[in-house]
């Protein structure tokens, strides 16, 4: 919990830095106008935060138009692989020219445009320009790679420490081992039974992957990986494939011919259970995505409120609220990954 409060303070600092100029502008302009502008800006900031991004921006100074962070590589498929740095987009402000083609960032998506960067809209205000197959190393990809590396070094060190210390972990391993054992004893064994060993690699990887990414989302780095539908879809798809391709006849028996119920009910249950095969991973996908998105929106809105109520009572109040909510979300995150891994595996308990 102590860690989170530090995290919150950093996040607040980042937001304060981001909005320093807003505060200055606010006092000069009419109070009402400034507040509306600030509200719109906070909304835009949150929207932007929820989306993936082609560069890693830590904070931006609106007054000078400067962004602090670093660009990331863009990989586009446009009749051949095009590789260039995202600094060419200047955070979506300019058109990038690569091999005679022009590209523009619009709402974190890359479109092919003409030299002026015109974007044509259809009646629903969606761009009509060609959307390209985008394999860029985005902020989320970088975060996943970082977490992957972190996991590798963390658990590699735990694995090594056993050999050095005669079967007893040392250092950070003393913290990590109970977590690994928790996954084995509280998730795998009760839900899968004696056959759990086959699934341990997947279970441990998904547990720590989701957990660490959720925690990373609470730092002021402003990454929102598990709140991205493409990421949760990937996780759900893998879970779906693994459960159904490793399933034994007991599992299929429980789906098509539920034992222990009258024959009539068996016929009724079969289509429901068959649908459940798809619904369960799908609901997990939506659940993680929605939880993370909602959590981030709420916390960032309350942090944003500090800048709206610039009074001695409003700011501490929203700070306290944001602090309590972060703790709640921290708890929720940990619970989420547990439930997530739990329900993933509940499907195999019949074996």
């Amino acid at each position: 919990m102590q860690k989170i409060s530090v995290v919150r303070i950093f996040m607040t600092l980042a937001l304060i830095l981001n909005s320093l100029n807003l505060a200055a502008k606010d006092t000069e302009n009419l109070e009402k106008e400034g507040k509306d502008g600030l509200k719109a800006e906070i909304k835009e900031f949150i929207d932007h935060h929820l989306q993936d991004s082609h560069d890693f921006t830590l904070f931006s100074d609106k007054k000078t138009g400067k962004h602090y962070g670093f660009p990331l590589p863009v990989l586009l498929w446009d009749g051949g692989l095009k590789v260039f740095s995202s600094s060419k987009f200047h955070h979506g402000e300019t058109v990038a020219e690569v091999d005679g083609n022009y590209y523009k960032l619009y709402h974190s998506k890359i479109y092919k445009t003409d030299a002026q960067g015109t974007i044509d809209y259809d009646e629903n205000h969606h761009p009509k320009n060609t959307k390209l197959l985008d394999f860029s190393i985005t902020k989320n990809v970088v975060s996943m790679l970082l977490i992957g590396l972190l996991m590798f070094f963390m658990f590699r060190s735990l694995a090594k420490s056993y050999k050095k210390n005669n079967g007893i972990p040392t250092g950070v391993g003393r913290f990590l081992e109970p977590l690994v054992l928790f996954v084995r004893d509280e998730i795998a064994k009760p839900n899968i039974g004696h056959n759990y060993k086959k699934y341990m690699s997947f279970l441990l990887t998904i547990f720590f992957f989701v957990w660490l990414l959720n925690l990373l989302g609470m730092t002021p780095l402003g990454v929102n990986v598990t709140g991205n539908i493409a990421v949760t879809f990937g996780l759900a798809l893998l879970t779906f494939l693994i459960t159904n391709f490793t399933a034994n006849k007991n599992y299929w028996g429980h789906i098509f011919w539920m034992p222990g119920v009258p024959t009539f009910m068996k016929v009724v249950l079969a289509p429901i259970e068959l649908l459940g095969v798809f619904i369960k991973p799908f609901s997990l996908m939506i659940r993680l995505y929605a939880n993370m998105t909602a959590g981030h929106v709420v916390i960032m809105s309350i942090v944003g409120m500090m800048f709206l109520f610039k009074s001695w009572i409003g700011s501490p109040l929203s700070f306290g609220l944001a602090f309590v909510l972060s703790i709640l979300e921290f708890y929720d995150n940990s619970r989420n990954c547990r439930i997530r891994s739990n329900s993933n595996r509940c499907r195999i308990r019949y074996r």
Partner: protein
């Protein structure tokens, strides 16, 4: 729903699957397998140690019971031997007494007979 589909980025999905599957295989080889094996070995070791301690305790108990039994047997044997010896002693004394008595009687009788002869 439409916003969801619009937000879906195939590139991100591609990298996510690649990173995640790679991570599963990499960690399985370098982390999960050695960790779970070590933990398993340790747990086996603890279980074996406990079991052998229990076995040793049982054996100790058996040994003690054996000792007790042997001691009891020895005691009983000793008691028997003592009893027998006492019996033997009593018998011997009684026998000796009886023999002495009969011998004494015989001597007395002889002496009397001699006296009777001398009177004449």
């Amino acid at each position: 729903m439409e916003k969801l589909l619009n937000d879906f980025s195939f590139g991100l999905f591609f990298w996510q699957i690649l990173i995640f599957v790679g991570l599963i295989f990499l960690l399985r080889k370098f982390a999960w397998k050695p960790i779970l094996d070590s933990v398993n070995n340790r747990e086996e070791g603890i279980k074996n140690a406990l079991e052998s301690a229990e076995a040793a305790r049982k054996e100790m108990q058996n040994l003690q019971a054996d000792n007790e039994r042997i001691l009891n047997e020895a005691r009983a044997e000793r008691d028997g031997m003592l009893k027998e010896a006492r019996q033997l002693k009593e018998n011997m004394i009684a026998d000796a007494k009886a023999e002495a008595q009969s011998e004494a009687d015989k001597i007395v009788a002889q002496a009397q007979a001699t006296i009777e002869q001398k009177k004449w």
